[in-house]
């Protein structure tokens, strides 16, 4: 009965979440598009060539955002995993599971773009230094999460096992982040750090931040859509989906903060 007074649980109800995503995702796509266009423009037409690396450094404007998103999405996945393990909120499990494929993709892209940046800069696509190795581990953690989830027939058990893996693996995120300080790495140190600010030209920083914003918005749009789709897949036609057309969902009934669990 107390649940009625907690508005943040409102969107853990599948039907309300569906309704929210329908309204949010088009806006987030628009934000992603605007930021991507602006970021690419600044990155390719405003930011000057690097005095040492020439133009290959422009890979940074996509490499760093994808790497950050990989770490961020993993941390977020772990947060949802904790919420799911502690309070058994189904929506948290749906969110965690929806983050994994996009997190894996972002991590894979950061490794790919990093290799293509490393080749002209270091003379090699890959080295087993701490930053690169821990990022590869991050990719395997994402893939392991998805594989473990899918491998266990009982969804509830699979969800819990995968959530536990997400939780244990989160220790890797600070390891990646601080690896360039803790170990001697071929990978360069932090260009932007909480203590030292940014060590690059303002136009480069602008392109980097715009790219990060675009990546963030893309990830938000895609993972919210995936969570929505996952909800549809878990439902049968007798539930809340009856009241929802393929394009839209009705607003929730007035005056009801949180439906009490019974289907309409």
């Amino acid at each position: 009965m107390n649940r009625r007074r907690i508005p943040w649980l409102y969107f853990t109800v599948p039907r309300n979440f569906y309704w929210l995503v329908q309204r949010l995702v088009p806006l987030i796509w628009a934000v992603a598009a605007v930021l991507a266009v602006a970021g690419l423009y600044v990155g390719f037409f405003v930011a000057p060539p690097d005095y040492q690396q020439g133009n290959s450094y422009r890979i940074m404007f996509i490499h760093v955002p994808t790497a950050w998103m990989g770490m961020f999405l993993y941390a977020l996945m772990a947060v949802y995993a904790v919420i799911f393990l502690a309070w058994r909120i189904k929506m948290a499990d749906v969110m965690a599971r929806s983050l994994a494929p996009t997190g894996a993709l972002m991590t894979a892209l950061s490794l790919w773009t990093g290799a293509l940046w490393g080749a002209p800069t270091w003379g090699t696509y890959w080295v087993w230094d701490a930053r690169l190795t821990s990022t590869l581990l991050l990719l395997f953690l994402f893939l392991g999460y998805m594989a473990l989830y899918a491998a266990i027939d009982d969804r509830e058990k699979g969800a819990r096992a995968a959530a536990l893996l997400a939780l244990i693996g989160v220790i890797n995120v600070p390891v990646i982040y601080f690896s360039v300080e803790w170990w001697h790495t071929l990978h360069q140190g932090m260009s932007i750090s909480p203590s030292g600010g940014a060590s690059m030209a303002p136009s480069m920083l602008a392109a980097l931040l715009l790219g990060t914003g675009a990546c963030w918005a893309y990830c938000a749009a895609v993972t919210l859509r995936r969570a929505q789709t996952e909800l549809l897949e878990r439902e049968d036609s007798t539930g809340w989906t009856r009241t929802v057309s393929t394009d839209d969902a009705p607003p929730a009934p007035r005056g009801v903060a949180v439906p009490t669990g019974r289907r309409n």
Partner: protein, 66 residues
């Protein structure tokens, strides 16, 4: 900053690295979004089929052709 489109495409000799990076990102993000659209359509198709079937089961005389 760029001396024509050829200079831009050449990226100072780093074209394969720069365009290989951005190309992979565009390609894979597009693929992910497209797969997701398809998955969502399939989920709705399944629900619609299920709904039709249950209507048919309840009203065999009226629902079979819809």
């Amino acid at each position: 900053m760029w001396d024509g489109i050829g200079d831009f495409v050449a990226m100072g000799g780093h074209a394969p690295y720069v365009w290989g990076s951005y190309g992979a990102v565009v390609l894979l993000l597009g693929l992910e979004a497209a797969l997701l659209v398809r998955r969502r359509q399939r989920a709705w198709t399944r629900l619609a089929r299920q709904a039709r079937r249950s209507t048919t089961a309840r009203h065999p005389s009226t629902g079979s052709e819809s």
